[in-house]
Amino acid sequence: MPAPNSYLQTLEAESIHILREAAANFRKPVILYSIGKDSSVLLHLALKAFFPAKPPFALLHVDTMWKFHEMIAFRDRRMSELGLELLVHVNRDGVSRGIGPISHGGTVHTDVMKTEGLKQALDLHGFDAAIGGARRDEETSRAKERIFSFRNAAHRWDPRHQRPELWRLYNGRIHAGESIRVFPLSNWTEIDVWTYIQQEDIPVVPLYFAAERLVVERNGMLIKVDDDRLPLRPGEVPQPRLVRFRTLGCYPLTGAIESQAANLSEIIAELEGAHTSERQGRAIDHDQGGSMELKKREGYF
């Protein structure tokens, strides 16, 4: 029997417990699969929680059309390896309006293609619980959120009136139209996620590992030139740099970090000495103080 006291085992067991509560409490729960490392861990835990059966959850990816190409390739490969079916939702209204991060800026793009897209998909399929890989260590408003987090019929979060949540009892009571966001990884930190990925040998998108990539430097961020939709400014020449990504999102909004960490051990060693937080490279977090809270209140995951 494994050592009962290791904290990764404690975290794993807690997450499995939460996933089972989500399955038992809701009529139509869905896992929001966003392709990143946290989603990879979440999916791995869901497979464990219901073994030998398959997880009783739908899987949904809200595609903003601006994800890194390697993310989409990884997504399709993983789903076929695991024999799972993935729903992919795109905000067609946003596409027809030509919304994008370059033409409209990160805030509008994220609001329309991600937040609105998510709400459309939840309404379209009638999902009453959306399970995501967000963690409390990512940002201060996330640090406040319950594990079962209530959303009203307009998908809004009211951080000033959250429900009590005692011991391992999670309140899944909702009326028609309301929903719950479920966060099984609430108590994990970034380094826990990587340590667990290493321990369990969980596949992740190669963009997390350092490699020479063509980037341009803009507003202090290293942006990977992922396709020909990124217009180069006068005099701007993409340079090969040894970089990796700590988080993955829409490529024009996601900054790379200079790094030599080319495998899991090196990533963990790098994080142990890290002096910046994980979401530093995410442009949309820094529009204004408390901006994640504002987005979350509007329905952002």
């Binding site: 290791s6 085992q9 497979l47 464990k48 059966a53 000033r160 408390g290």
Partner: protein, 346 residues
């Protein structure tokens, strides 16, 4: 899951809560722990400096309380409305800290934070001593099942680091704690603002020879249910194919081995554990805190919410019970009609 031979995964975890009245310095104490343990990333420090200029209450210094108060309303009003969870790690332990509101109107959020804690830090202002909130929070912490308490007599810098004042408050709290269900109370004089006895001992209180707060948090031993009789509440009945019927749940207390006799409550049906199933292979034994799937040797009627227990020490089954209630709703409780519901529901 394969046991990690060593490294960060092998550490254990301690969950703690800080509580006490408003303005006793709870958020500052946690901010100090994170700051001195060098667990605050550089970009968060920059945001802290920016926010301190806007909302801060300590002049030119960074206002460490702003590291934990995350909601806009909290920063604007300088209060804590809801529990915030913070994470830090030392070479010896991994910590989850619940920072909870001190205002009476947000006490129900404090209850949420207390319910998952192994240990409570009760913070008292050395100038004012014990307050109504000290008693209220200590009572709630005890009711929620927290057995380990640290009494942090804070703001010692404002009482000239007086040993006598510390001893008085510790003695008063000891009287109060006698009526509560604590296994141990550890008294520590601190100044969260100056950092005395939080991580480093400091030089201001040579008369204090006990551990610093972090020393104590790193070394305290807490019971996680391993010595209790076996209990597992069934969360989910796992049917995979025609032949497999497993009962998924978390071991709440004690341990269980394949082959052990169990009784399912409330029906009282008896059976034997056939397998302890996980994706990483069957286990011979599972202990408190592990999430497993059990199969039984006999076909018995078991549903979500039923409890598996050791047959020699089963839980009592009753339709009446007496208890203390923490009432969380704004409207008062009315005696009479049934108002409870049991979780988990079938």
């Amino acid at each position: 899951m394969a046991p990690p031979p060593s490294g960060p995964g092998a550490k254990d975890m301690l969950r703690l809560i800080t509580c006490g009245s408003v303005d006793n310095g709870k958020s500052t104490l946690i901010g100090r722990l994170l700051f001195d343990a060098r667990q605050v990333p550089g970009d968060h420090l920059e945001a802290l400096a920016r926010d301190s200029r806007r909302y801060g209450t300590v002049g030119e210094e960074p206002d460490l309380a702003l590291l934990v108060d995350g909601l806009q309303a909290e920063r604007e009003q300088g209060i804590t409305i809801d529990v915030a969870y913070r994470f830090f790690s030392t070479p010896r332990r991994r910590f989850i800290v619940a920072d909870t509101p001190g205002h009476a109107q947000y006490t129900r959020n404090m209850v949420t934070g207390a319910s998952t804690a192994d240990l409570a830090i009760v913070i008292v202002d050395a100038r004012t001593g014990l307050l109504t909130q000290t008693l209220r929070h200590s009572t709630i912490v005890s009711l929620m099942g927290v057995r380990h308490v640290v009494l942090a007599v804070n703001k010692m810098d404002l009482v000239d680091y007086s040993e006598q004042r510390f001893t008085e408050i510790a003695a008063a709290y000891s009287l109060l704690a006698k009526r509560l269900d604590f296994a141990a109370v550890t008294n520590i004089p601190t100044s969260a603002l100056r950092g005395d006895n939080v991580i480093a001992p400091g030089t201001a209180m040579p008369w204090y020879r006990g551990p610093t707060l972090l020393d104590h948090l790193e070394s305290v031993e807490v019971d996680r249910g391993g010595t209790q009789p076996f209990r597992l509440a069934v969360q989910w009945v796992n049917r995979s194919g025609a032949d497999f019927r497993g009962y998924a749940g978390t071991v709440l207390g004690g341990s269980i081995c394949a082959g052990d006799e169990i009784v399912a409550q409330p029906s009282g049906a008896a059976s034997r554990i056939a397998r302890i199933v996980t994706q990483d292979g069957d286990l011979a034994e599972a202990g408190a805190g592990q999430a497993v799937t059990l199969t039984l040797a006999d076909a018995v009627d078991v549903a979500r919410g039923d409890v598996f227990a050791s047959p020699d020490r089963p839980p009592h089954v009753a339709d009446q019970f007496a208890c203390h209630l923490v009432w969380m709703h704004d409207a008062p409780m009315l005696p009479g009609p049934t108002c409870c519901s049991l979780v988990p529901r079938r």
